[in-house]
């Protein structure tokens, strides 16, 4: 009986402490890890900005295995964290199962759509950002041949490639776009050696600007482009600093803004489908001190004009994922 009382007391204490921590937001990083120089790191930056501006704190966890997804979600939800933000499309299934069990907790998932009343789904219009960097690539190219190197051959990456090709052809209808995918397994995200070989192969076909949307493989692409003295384009985070003066620009996905907004809105935020595009500065091109010298006034003007048109809807960039086909590029 005394043992039982102790247990009950402990449970009550836990419940109380959970109550005290109520409304502290939580952030769950995907398997890529918090410091991946890209997607997850951007999410972390957004959360940190929120913490600095508000003086509050947030909880976080880096997943180590697939099995932890649901566990992490449930533990944060039971501990009273609200909202719970997660990065990556891979959370889709786990969240779909968990969301219904915690109707009073708000969830935010990035890069995936989960249809539940307490979930905000944030997706990015990568094709629009890729269109903009495609325009810049076409203007920077002297050989009228530009390249694209994707990581794993999945629809999301084809979406990048398709937007890019449309941007290139919009500036120069005679340009050639060479597109290669690194592979068809997840190993394709971390094969910089193959990224280098693909870059060299594209250079031998005449490419002088190469856009990499390939995770860790992209590091090899950017490196080889710098070694061989051609231009490259980074992705997700601002990668201009990796090889200053050799990276034309980076197509940035403002995952940090998505996380910042979610945490600022707090519990009771607006739910549903949230699209981050060129119009609301969800995607865009990175221009900083490392690549300023490469950007001509013409390029800047063209990008600004296209951004305005995309934002007001007068220019529509075809989304590969809408119908699994691309008018400007064949895979």
């Amino acid at each position: 009986m005394t043992l039982m009382t102790k247990f009950l007391g402990a449970a009550a204490a836990t419940a109380l402490s959970a109550g005290a921590a109520l409304a502290e937001p939580a952030l769950i990083f995907d398997l890529g890890g918090k410091f991946d120089k890209s997607f997850n790191e951007a999410a972390f930056a957004g959360a940190q900005r929120w913490a600095e501006e508000t003086g509050e704190s947030f909880r976080e966890i880096e997943l180590q295995s697939e099995a932890q997804r649901e566990q992490a979600l449930r533990r944060f939800a039971e501990a009273g964290s609200n909202p719970i933000v997660m990065t990556g499309f891979a959370f889709g299934d786990a969240l779909g199962q968990v969301a219904g069990d915690y109707p009073d907790t708000d969830f935010v998932i990035i890069d995936m759509v989960v249809d539940a009343p307490n979930v905000r789904s944030v997706v990015f219009n990568e094709h629009e950002g890729s269109y903009l960097v495609g325009m810049m690539a076409a203007m920077a190219s002297e050989s009228n041949t530009v390249g694209f190197i994707g990581g794993m051959d999945i629809p999301l990456i084809r979406k990048f490639a398709c937007g890019y090709a449309q941007g290139v052809l919009a500036v120069n209808p005679d340009a050639t776009v060479i597109s290669n995918m690194t592979g068809s397994t997840p190993a394709a995200w971390n094969d910089p050696v193959k990224g280098s070989e693909l870059t060299k192969a594209q250079i031998s076909q005449g490419a002088d600007v190469v856009y990499a949307a390939a995770g860790g493989t992209g590091v090899g692409v950017l490196q080889t482009a710098a070694d061989e003295d051609i231009l490259s384009i980074g992705v997700d985070s601002n990668q201009n600093h990796l090889h200053a003066g050799k990276v034309l620009t980076s197509m940035i996905k403002r995952v940090d803004n998505a996380v910042f907004d979610a945490m600022s809105d707090g519990p009771g935020m607006e739910k549903g489908f949230n699209v981050m595009g060129v119009g609301n500065e969800g995607v865009g091109v990175a221009i900083d001190e490392h690549n300023k010298a490469l950007i001509t006034a013409e390029m800047q003007a063209a990008v600004d004009e296209a951004s305005t048109k995309i934002a007001d809807g007068s220019l529509e960039v075809h989304d590969y994922m809408s119908d699994d086909s691309c008018p400007s590029l064949s895979f």
Binding site: G33, K34, F35, D36, K37, E41, I178, N180, M181, G183, S184, A187, N190, D191, P192, V193, K194, S196, E197, L198, K200, A201, S204, Q205, G216, V219, G220, Q223, L242
Partner: protein, 322 residues
């Protein structure tokens, strides 16, 4: 397809085949001595990390290479300890080494550099740079031979030349020295070697250590010559393709060279879908080329093209009769 494209294709073949060749020869030494080694990939990965890490910390790529070799040899010793001294299952030990390397490299990289399991980019002397062979620039304009010499033969890092020299060296060591004879014998019939008064355990340890050295060079080539730094899982399964090449080569050094060059050529062709399309007039999916090394290995194993007979005592821990 013009001549220059062909040269470029072969140039890429050489670069892609080099790590495979080194790992394949590494496996050859180990397996010829009766120790199966599926931990080639893990050893390459560990060597890739430690060579890049030490090169970045010291700024000297040669120290990096030594560190990579040392890391790979340490894993080899672990494999030897488990499978020779303690007579454990060689396959399980190899798998364990792969897991260990995949986890440890990222963990240590994060602890040392805080860059998400990467090393900083290597610059200057922290990287193996291409070597221009004598007269390469002078003869580059000569038709046919010029580009062949200047583009294909010249302009690789020193590790590439080392890898190609390792083939005759391996052949000589295995077939023309007493050590080689004993090493091959210990993989076929360790009891006979033991009867002759030669240490089976000593020979097998020597074999796995040589395997460690070669894997170390292969890993260092990935991170300090082909690339400028380490990225998690950057070996991308090359150790397994090297194993396939080893079977394809029927455990022989010269065949290993041809097998890895062939697999390297598949890799190079995968990067040039336009060339294949021009050759066969229809689009070939890259996945097919990526799968070809494995398909061909299965064909060889099934006995359609000759017969691949592994060393007879391979995979068996040696137990002295009492």
């Amino acid at each position: 397809m013009d001549y220059i494209t062909l040269i470029q294709l072969f140039d890429s073949t050489v670069r892609l085949a080099t790590p495979l060749l080194l790992a394949c020869l590494a496996g050859l030494f180990s397996e010829r001595a009766g120790i199966f080694d599926i931990g080639l990939d893990g050893k390459m990965l560990a060597a890739a990390f430690f060579s890049a890490a030490v090169a970045s910390l010291t700024g000297n790529v040669w120290l990096g290479l030594l560190a990579g070799i040392a890391a790979s040899m340490a894993l080899s010793l672990l494999h030897g300890l488990a499978s020779i001294t303690f007579r454990g299952n060689q396959l399980i030990s190899g798998v364990a080494i792969n897991f260990l390397a995949a986890g440890l490299t990222v963990l240590i990289a994060q602890d040392w550099f805080q860059q998400g399991g990467r090393t900083p980019s290597l610059i200057g002397g922290a990287r193996f740079s291409p070597i221009t062979l004598p007269f390469a620039d002078d003869v580059a304009q000569t038709p046919i031979i010029g580009p062949l010499y200047a583009e294909l033969i010249s302009g690789h890092s020193i590790l590439v030349y080392l890898a190609f020299l390792a083939v005759p060296a391996t052949w000589w060591l295995l077939y023309r020295t007493r050590f080689g004879l004993r090493l091959r014998a210990v993989g076929e019939n360790p009891a006979a070697v033991d009867t002759a008064g030669v240490s089976v355990v000593g020979l097998r340890y020597a074999a796995v250590l040589i395997c460690g050295v070669l894997c170390g060079v292969a890993g260092a080539y990935l991170s300090t010559a082909l690339q400028a730094g380490f990225i998690k899982d950057m070996s991308a399964g090359r150790g397994y393709i090297a194993l396939a090449a080893l079977i394809f080569a029927k455990w022989r050094p010269w065949y290993a060279l041809w097998a890895t060059l062939l697999f390297g050529l598949f890799g190079a062709l995968e990067t040039r879908p336009d060339v294949i399309e021009a050759l066969v007039n229809f689009k070939v999916q890259g996945q097919l080329l990526a799968a070809l090394p494995y398909v061909m290995t299965v064909i060889i194993l099934a006995g359609f093209v000759g017969k691949a007979i592994p060393p007879r005592a391979g995979g068996e821990p040696y137990v002295k009769e009492r």
